[in-house]
Amino acid sequence: MAEQQVLHRNGHRNGVGSRAARVPVSVPSPNLLESVSPTLLLIVRYGVVKPILSVIWAITHLIYVLIHNVDLAHSFQTWMASGRNSKQDILILTKTSQFEKFPNHVVIAVHNYDDTVQNITQLSRIICWAWVANIKVISLYEPKGIVKSQAKKLYGMVEKALQEACRELKTGGIVGNKTTPPILKFYNSGDEEMDKLSNETQKPDEAISQQQSLPIYFCCEKDCKSGIVNAARNLFEKKANAKPTLSLPEALFNKDLDAATLNSAINKQIGWPESEPNSEPDLMMVFGNIKSTLGFLPWHIRLTEIHWLPPIQKISPLNFYGSLQKYSKCEQRVGK
């Protein structure tokens, strides 16, 4: 006890010490200037130097933004690609089978997404590329939930894009399972009808079981952090109800809540399909030149590789291929 008091006094003394040491260090003898003229002090401090620095700052930012938005690399690529036709572009994605390391589950994250025909067409095209490139599970993330609200429309568009791609692959001389379009399965799309449809096609049917399926998981900002909190709340509720029958001490009661329990509760809460065991994505592609995960499922992305890509309107199969290529070259150590 005496020890603690000493410590406390020490802490207090030091607190005072640190405050005393916090003397501003800036322009030499400001007090002298201030006594002569406060305006002169202001001019010296901010009058000349600050505007010049601000202008340099603004110019630097302007140059950076200009270079980034003109996007020379992209213009060069489109110029290079203009000679060839788009069919060859999509064929490049079938080459991903040669990669040593390959993502099973990929997140496609978009932002600044409006409800326009161009956007939805391009999004369905990207989903289609992912299938051609042999990706097994796709998560679609758009923070505001606009993509979620278009789920029904998207279903038709993706189906159409897949059929087209299959035709292109056939004429490109590709044989095998990429010549028949897969069955789309939508999860957590916010549209009960669409989700139900996905579950119905899971019924064992000989004709269907021959065919591949492509699960697409929908996600918006409301699923993310709130998903974690709501999952825990559900767990607590269940436990609270079970309480009268258990006379366990609190400590033991507490032990039940471990990361694994929380993990399965969160997966259930966010509507992750039970048929897919691995809910942790391998790769996240963030479209739109922004360096942020935009709030996507924080619990799930601990080991996800994150790539930045241009906006979806500017994206080509070549960019998509490039991202997968980069992924294939990266070694994962998981802490070791």
């Binding site: 030091n14 930012h61 952090k225 709130s226 924080p298 996800t304």
Partner: protein
């Protein structure tokens, strides 16, 4: 090598660039994943532990630079729970290094107090060896009243572990009735992570070209700017830090347009807020008590 380098060795060009950069927004809280120490050691034909030592020296430089730039809170990922899986030799070497450095921190008391730096260790203390834990507790207790700058050291930390521990505390609060079920929200969980209030994270930096978060600050970094840079941590320079700040200024503006977290705004209920506040105060006091106990044992164990 002290925790925060005491002299300013920046060139006049660097100082000029700093002055220009300071015309824009400066991040208040920066997270660093100190990655690449071992690759650096391999490249230089050094022992692994030597690589980590070099990494620590770089941390000391970086903390100085951050203070000079006006970055007031820094969180560094020093040791992950997953790192316990490494070879026994490396783990024990790292623990020894940590002990040495925390002892050094305590010896440097005056310096830290003059700079006004508050040191906090975030992580699962139950996994830390006792002798190291006592040193950490002492460091936290000693600097707890400093407010000018804050250094959070993530040791035996993973973000999933942090979230789970937070949920456990909240569950206890529900059981003893200090909070109600409706009080459990994102804000409450976030507050439960820290013993002292933390500023919102502005940017997360990962060195050595890895493009992953590796279970670091997953919750806190969800809506922030991320910066992956190819340089190995021991080779990180002031120029890299300036480019991190520049990247932050560019991307922060883009992110602000997106208006993420807008959905978070809930109807504020005064009684609820009070309960939440009281609960957070209570669990923080409990944790402080444990830390004070640990800290007071330092003299008896030495």
């Amino acid at each position: 090598m002290s925790w925060i380098k005491d002299q300013d060795d920046r060139s006049w060009v660097q100082k000029l660039c700093t002055a220009v950069l300071k015309q824009g927004l400066i991040p208040q809280h920066v997270g660093f994943i100190l990655d690449g120490n071992r690759r650096y050691a391999r490249g230089q034909n050094l022992q692994t532990v030597e690589g980590h030592r070099k990494g620590f020296e770089k941390l000391s430089d970086t903390l100085r630079w951050c203070l000079d730039l006006g970055i007031t809170e820094v969180t560094v990922f020093v040791f992950s729970i997953e790192n316990f899986k490494r070879s026994e030799e490396e783990v024990s070497g790292l623990m020894k290094l940590a002990k040495e450095k925390f002892q050094k921190l305590l010896d440097e008391e005056e310096n830290l107090m003059n700079e006004g730096v508050c040191v906090q260790i975030v992580g699962d203390w139950s996994l830390v060896p006792e002798d190291l834990r006592i040193l950490m507790a002492k460091a936290m207790y000693m600097t707890r009243n400093n407010t000018r700058a804050k250094l959070n050291v993530a040791f035996a930390y993973t973000s999933r572990n942090e979230i789970t521990r937070g949920m456990k505390l909240i569950h206890q609060g529900l059981l003893d009735g200090s909070i109600l079920e409706d009080d459990v929200d994102c804000k409450l969980l976030e507050e439960s992570f820290y013993i002292l209030p933390s500023k919102p994270l502005d940017i997360l930096v990962r060195t050595s070209g890895e493009k992953r978060l590796s279970d670091f600050l997953l919750w806190q970094s969800a809506e922030t700017v991320l910066c992956f840079t190819n340089v190995l941590w021991p080779e990180f320079t002031y120029w890299h830090l300036l480019s991190v700040v520049f990247q932050f200024q560019i991307d922060k503006r883009n992110l602000m347009h997106l208006n993420l977290k807008a959905n978070d705004l809930q109807v504020t209920d005064l009684a609820m807020e009070q309960r939440q506040h009281k609960f957070i105060e209570k669990i923080r006091q409990q944790q402080w008590k444990i830390i004070a106990d640990d800290a007071s044992r330092i003299n008896s164990s030495l």
